[in-house]
Amino acid sequence: MTEPVIQLEGVTRRFGEHVAVDTLDLEVHQGTLLGFLGPNGAGKSTTIRMIMSIIYPDDGAVNVLGRSALDAKDRIGYLPEERGLYRRMRIGDFLRFIASLKGISKSDAIARIATWLERLELEGIERRRCEELSKGQQQKIQFIASVLHDPDVLILDEPFAGLDPVNRQLLSSIIRELHEEGRTIVFSTHVLPEAETLCQHILLMDHGQKLLDDSLASIRKRFEPSELLIERLEPGPAPVVAGTRAQAGDAEGLRWSLHLTEGTDPQAAMASALAGTPLRSVQQRQPTLENVFASLVQPGGNA
């Protein structure tokens, strides 16, 4: 396995009596696309801010690219959750200012800004003032500010918040492209279907603690429900399958859902169903991140 690009060891952060992040351990490896999930107040933004060295942990250690994020800022792209622009500043001036802070030469910055504006369908707005843009356009400008310096690591805090479906899709495809180019990407989101589509790896937090830190495939396997979805060719009763503990069907008797007892092999159950009844389809139900989220996150939290 590659060396971790982001490494947190026993990181704790308190605000007064409130423990925002509690002894968090995390390793994000090169080329990972990590979805950082959790309800509001779970500690996601605090963790991200500690990763970015904007705030510091009370205990534990944070390393990004083998050093503090402060020293590696030129190699990290960060789109914060709390984001804004200088209202009266022109878009081009703002992006050039951010580029200069990231160590990009003026001529290089001009070329990159033009490329990114085109890529995000914002051509010709360089001379406009930030306050003249729509919220979605402003968000895309902020995204450009985070990727302008071609970072190795990209940390995006709620990148899809406030975007319409078209722009959300555009941003998803760009994140996917950046990942395919070999970048390590961490993004927090409430939009679970987006995370499910994009991510390889999921980190789920609640009340400052890590609930889940695994690949999406492993999570699906672990949270795989013992449930078969069956569609008959002709209306009729539910197929008889050994190990069924409960069953439910639609009014026509065409579609059936069989809940298996713990320890029952889903493959054997599906074969058994097919053997006994003519079926249009039989499949094991896939767990969604929403199911996983709902089953793990404590009710009564801040979500």
């Binding site: 801010r49 970015m52 060295s53 904007i54 705030i55 510091y56 009370d58 402060l70 800022k73 990290i76 792209g77 960060y78 789109l79 914060p80 959750e81 709390e82 984001r83 804004g84 622009l85 200088y86 209202r87 500043m89 200012f97 951010i98 200069s100 802070l101 990231k102 902020q142 500010a145 985070s146």
Partner: protein, 443 residues
């Protein structure tokens, strides 16, 4: 380029390259200087001669004589006597004295064609009629009171200009006094000579055997002006920093900036950027001050050593005020909230102004010395003490206080950085001063 300097450059450009700043900090001081010079050179009011008859009703012969004397034309301005030794203070005194008499001469209407007549037989009605039909220029009516004193009434036409009116009023008052003296067989010129305030030349000795003459006004004008300029410009620069920080915080752009630079780089960049803005402002005011000092031939009132100390105090004062403002700006979410924290800060900032009389009176006294060691009063009090001290403060003392001041300024910048780091991302209720102190100790 270092991120701190990139931020400093942006803050400087976005503040200085605005019409508001250009007019406020560049055009207004230059305009003020230009207008002052132009008024002095070209815009002297035209004074018309006082041509006509001044009627005096019921006046004694002494009064007529005194009035004729006070209104007689041909008073010459005192010629400018340049001091032979080239002493600045004496030169300034001489110029001011001469200028005062030149003003009297230039602003005084020409009275060579003014006639003064006694009109014992006139009545109130005939006097008014004669003035309305412009037979007489004006009339003075003297009415004896029961207690033997006289009541004077000056009757003038509607068109009489102020310069004429002022001269008549002043002359009548002086003539009345002179007439009283003459009634007592006293000679007014002799009495005036006897009661005239003597011209006093103050010579300040030093313990090394030297001496210098000092003009009274320079004792307080130079220290107060220098300190006032530092106070005004650093406060303005600090206010720019405060509003810029609050604006970035409220518009949420701050975290975007923090994604590109550290909080330390951000606060230091802002402090440097607005420091350069302050430098531009004080340069403009200094240019204006230099023009006036040159016009008064008093440029050597400010010594090179005083200038160096003033420059260092300016930097120190700015760092201290900027730290306070950055701390307040980081701790609050908007300008309204800032007011509650600015209350105590304003009290501290006003203290040097309240201490001006005490410090200029005794620059080496206990109050002045102790106040020098209370940041952020240090630079203001120090510059006041150095420029007001009649017996120069020892270099050892000045350097010691400068070192103390810069250590205190560095500590304040450091503390502001700690508050900035914690507060800049916080929203909601502004912290209490106690919480602010706790933020300084946060990791």
């Amino acid at each position: 380029m270092n991120r701190t300097w990139i931020i400093a450059g942006r803050e400087f450009r976005r503040t200085v390259l605005t019409k508001a700043f250009f007019f406020g900090a560049v055009v207004v001081p230059l305009l003020f200087a230009g207008v002052s010079i132009a008024v002095e050179l070209f815009l002297k009011p035209t004074i018309h001669p006082m041509d006509g008859t001044l009627a005096v009703h019921s006046g004694s012969s002494h009064l007529i004589e005194a009035l004729t004397d006070t209104l007689k034309p041909g008073k010459k301005a005192t010629p400018l006597q340049l001091p032979a030794n080239g002493d600045t203070a004496e030169l300034v005194d001489a110029v001011l004295e001469s200028a005062a008499t030149i003003d009297v001469q230039n602003d005084r209407p020409d009275t060579s064609t003014l006639r003064i007549i006694a009109t014992p037989d006139a009545t109130a009605k005939s006097i008014r009629a004669a003035i309305r039909d412009e037979t007489w220029l004006a009339a003075v009516v003297i009415t004896p009171n029961e207690d033997g004193e006289s009541r004077f009434e000056l009757i003038v036409p509607p068109s009489m200009p102020n310069s004429h009116l002022e001269l008549l009023e002043d002359s009548i008052r002086r003539a009345a006094i002179n007439a009283r003296l003459m009634d007592q067989d006293l000679v007014p010129a002799t009495i005036r000579k006897l009661v005239a305030r003597p011209r006093l030349r103050t010579v300040r000795l030093d313990y090394e055997g030297g001496e210098r003459t000092e003009a009274q006004w320079t004792r307080w004008v130079v220290p107060v002006v220098v300190m006032g300029l530092i106070w005004l410009t650093t406060l303005t620069g600090g206010n720019y920093l405060l509003t810029s920080t609050i604006e970035e915080k409220s518009s949420k752009v701050i975290e975007v900036l923090l994604s590109a630079c550290g909080p330390g780089e951000l606060i230091h960049g802002k402090i440097i950027g607005f420091g350069l803005v302050t430098l531009v402002m004080i340069t403009m005011y200094a240019v204006v001050a230099a023009i006036f000092l040159t016009m008064l031939a008093a440029a050597d009132l400010v010594s090179v050593s005083d200038l160096i100390v003033s420059g260092l105090c300016l930097i120190m004062a700015y760092l201290m005020i900027a730290s306070l403002m950055a701390g307040v700006g980081a701790a609050v979410s908007d300008l309204t909230e800032a007011q509650s924290l600015l209350g105590p800060v304003t009290l501290v900032i006003m203290a040097p102004l309240l201490l001006i009389p005490v410090v200029t009176e005794d620059p080496s006294g206990i109050v002045a010395t102790v106040a020098t060691f209370i940041p952020p009063l240090t630079p203001f009090i120090l510059v006041l003490r150095v420029s007001a001290a009649v017996e120069p403060l020892s270099w050892f003392e000045v350097i010691g206080e400068l070192v103390f001041g810069f250590i205190a300024a560095a500590a304040m910048v450091w503390a502001a950085g700690r508050i900035f780091r914690v507060g800049i991302l916080m929203q909601g209720k502004p912290p209490s001063p106690r919480e602010l102190l706790r933020w300084i100790s946060y990791r």
